[in-house]
C-alpha cells in the first residue's frame, strides 16, 4: 500500500491563492479515501513542507500557479517539472520552497517518489477576496486530476453519501466558535 498525501497550499487570505486549501478541504468533505491516503490544508508552510511530505510515497500538491495561462487553467506538473526550478539564495528563508523541500527530503532519503503539483492559474490576489469565478469553475477539473492520481498509485476513494461541512470559514461572514 502506497502512502499518498494530498496537500492544499496557499494563503486563504489572498483571493485565488486560497485555491489549494479550498480544494483540499472540499475534497476531504466530499470523499472518503482508502487506507494510506491523507488530505491536508497546509496553508503556506515554506520549508516546513518537509515535515509533511516525509515518509510519503506520493505527494499531490494543489496550488495557485503563476504561469501566464488564462485564469482558471489547470496544469499538472510532475516532479521533474517542479524541480526544474532552481533553488534560490534567500534573504527571507520562509518564502515558498516546494523545490527545496523536495530536495532536502530526498537528501535524507525520506522524500516522496512521485510528486505532482496541480496548478490553477489565478486571476486576483486581493486581501480578503473570495475565489474568482474563473478559478471556481476550474475546481471540478482540479478534483478530477487529484482523484486520477490517487487511483493511478493504487489509492481508492468513494464519494460520501452525505458530504461533510468543508469549513471554508474564510469565505463565510460568520463562523461559529465552539468551546
Amino acid at each position: 500500500m502506497k502512502k499518498i498525501k494530498i496537500c492544499g497550499v496557499g494563503s486563504v487570505l489572498l483571493g485565488d491563492d486560497a485555491v489549494g486549501p479550498y480544494t483540499a478541504r472540499w475534497i476531504a468533505a466530499n470523499y472518503e479515501f482508502g487506507k494510506g491516503v491523507e488530505v491536508e490544508d497546509l496553508g503556506t508552510p515554506g520549508l516546513d513542507l518537509i515535515a509533511y511530505m516525509t515518509g510519503m510515497d506520493v505527494l499531490i500538491l494543489i496550488d495557485s500557479a503563476d504561469n501566464r495561462e488564462p485564469a482558471g487553467t489547470v496544469t499538472v506538473y510532475d516532479k521533474a517539472a517542479i524541480t526544474r526550478q532552481r533553488p534560490a539564495v534567500r534573504l527571507d528563508p520562509h518564502s515558498p520552497c516546494i523545490t527545496e523541500s523536495i530536495f532536502i527530503a530526498e537528501l535524507a532519503g525520506d522524500g516522496p517518489e512521485e510528486v505532482y503539483l496541480i496548478g490553477v492559474t489565478g486571476e486576483q490576489l486581493e486581501i480578503g477576496a473570495p475565489l474568482s469565478d474563473s478559478v471556481r469553475k476550474a475546481l471540478p477539473c482540479v478534483v478530477e486530476k487529484v482523484l486520477e492520481r490517487v487511483v493511478l498509485h493504487g489509492g481508492s476513494y468513494q464519494k460520501r453519501e452525505i458530504p461533510e461541512d468543508a469549513q471554508i470559514w474564510w469565505e463565510e461572514a460568520q463562523i461559529s466558535v465552539s468551546v
Binding site: T44, P45, D48, A88, H94, L107
Partner: protein, 566 residues
Amino acid sequence: MAKRITIDPISRIEGHLRVDVEVENGSVSNSWSSCTMWRGIETILQGRDPREAWLYTQRFCGVCTTVHAMSAVRSVEDALNLEIPLNAQYIRNLILINHGLHDHIVHFYHLSALDFVDILKIPAADPAKTSALAESLTNWPGNSKKAFAAAQDKVKAVAASGQLGIFTNGYWGHPAMKLSPEVNLLAFAHYIQALEYQRKSVQAVAILGSKSPHIQNLTVGGVSNAINLDSLATLNMDRLVMIKQLMEEVKPFVDQVYLPDVCAIAGMYADWFNYGAGVTNYLASPDLPIDSKNTKFDLVGGYIMDGNLSSVHRFDGFRDKVFVEGVTEETKHAWYKGEDPLHPWKGETEPDYTDWQADGKYSWVKAPRFQGRPMQVGPLAQILVGYASGDPLTRKHTDKALDLISTVAGRRIGVAQLQSTMGRHVARAIRASMLAELGAKHWQLLVDNIATGDVAIHNNPEFPSGEIQGVGVHEAPRGLLSHWSVIKGGKIANWQAVVPSTWNASPRDAKGQLGPYEASLLHNPIADPVRPLEAIRTIHSFDPCMACACHTFDPEGTAMATVKVL
C-alpha cells in the same frame, strides 16, 4: 567609489525582503532594507467577531501560524482583562515551546548553516577524524564514523550526478568559507539528522493543538482541549506521555548537537563576533506565564538601550505600562500616508506608493520605534535582557555556551560580544536549550495541576457595549510580537500587528535612524560584490520572515536569486 549592490532574491513573489548595500573598499558603507508587499493584511479583521480573530491571524504567515494565533487571543483577553485557567496556560506554553524548538532547529540547520558550511569541501573529509572531533564535543550517538561516512556518500552522490539540486546556488569555495572538510561534514550530517528532530516537535504541537500547522485548540479565554485522563477523546494520559516522550527525544538533540554545533562553528568563525551588532537597543517580552493572571513568567522581558548590559529595565507583565506607552510606528520612509508617529491603537494603513527612493520612501514595512528609538528584537534581545537582569536560567545556559565557544576560539568570548551577527545564532541556540529544559518543567506543571482535580480549561469572554483596547504580546521565535486590538460593542474596530520582522527590517525613521538590518550591515566585509555572502550571513542571523506573502507556483522560476551590482 561606492558600488551599490541590490540583493533581490525572489522577484516573482510579492512580499519578500530586498536589501541594498553600498560597498566601498571591501566594506559596507550604507544600506537599505525594504519589503516589497503591502502589509495591510490586518484590515481583513475589521468588523469581525474578536473571538475569531486568531483563526485569521494564524493565516498571516504559514511558518509563524501558532504565534499569530496566540498573540491574537491574548490581545482580546487583555482587552477584557480575562484570567486564563492554569491548564490552558500550560497547554499553550507547551505548544509555544515545541513550536519554538522546531523553528530554531530549522532556522539554524536548514536556513542558515550553509552560509558557513561549504558543501563542496565535504568529499575531501576523513569520516574517522570527523567522528573523533565530534566525540570530543559530546556523547551524541549519531556521531559514529559510519554515520559520517553515510552523510559524506550522500554529498558525493549529489556531486557525481552533476545536478547539485538544493546546493545549486550556494557560495561554495567563497573566500569567507573557513571550516575544515571534517567540520563541514559534521555540520552536514547533523543537517540531515535535524530533519527528524524538528519533526518530533511538530508532532508534539499537533497532539496539543489537534492539528498542525494550524492549531485548532485556542479560544479567547483558554483552550478547547477537554481534559479527562481516562477518556480516549480528550487530552488523556496516553497523549500526555506521548508529548513527554517527544520532548525527551528532542532535548538531547538540542543539548548535544544543536548548541555544541553552533558553539563550535561560532568559535571557528570568531571574527563574526566583530560584525553585525547594528542597533544595540533590545526589546523582549516576558513569556511562558505560570499563573492565571499573567504576573509570573519563565522568560524574562524588558529592554536595554545602547548595548549597556549593566542597565536593564524589566517588564512586569504583558501589559507593562512602559512598553504599552512606548511603542509607535512611523512612515516617513515607508509607502504609507501620514507624517506623525502613531500608537498602534491609532494605527493607520493607507498606502502611498512611490518608486524605491534611497532618500525617500522605499519599503512597505513601517518603522516601529520604542521611546523614539529603533529596537532589535529576537532571541538575542531575550537572552541579553535575561542575562543582564540576572535570571538564573538564562545565565546558566548562556555561560555554558560561552565557555564552549571560548574553548574552541582559544580566547575569551564574553556576553557583550553576543551583540553581533554570530551572537544572534548563538542566542537562538541558547534559547532553544532553555526551551528544551522548560518543556519538561511545564509538562510537569500541567500534570501536577490536573492531579489536584483541576480540569478547568476556559473562562467565558463577555464583551461590553463600549470600546476596549488590548495588546497581545508573545516572545515568538523571531522576537517580540504584539497584536493591538480595538473592540467596539463586541466587534473589531481596529487591529494592528507589530511583528518581529517589522522591528528588525524597519526602514529609516524621520530622524534618519537606521533599522536593525540596515545598521547591522554597516562595516560588514564584502570580499566579492557578485557573491555577497557576508551580507547574507548578517541578514540570515536575524531569521527574517516576510512570508506574510502569497504562495504562487511559478514553473519558470529559474532566475530566482538576483544580485545586481550597479
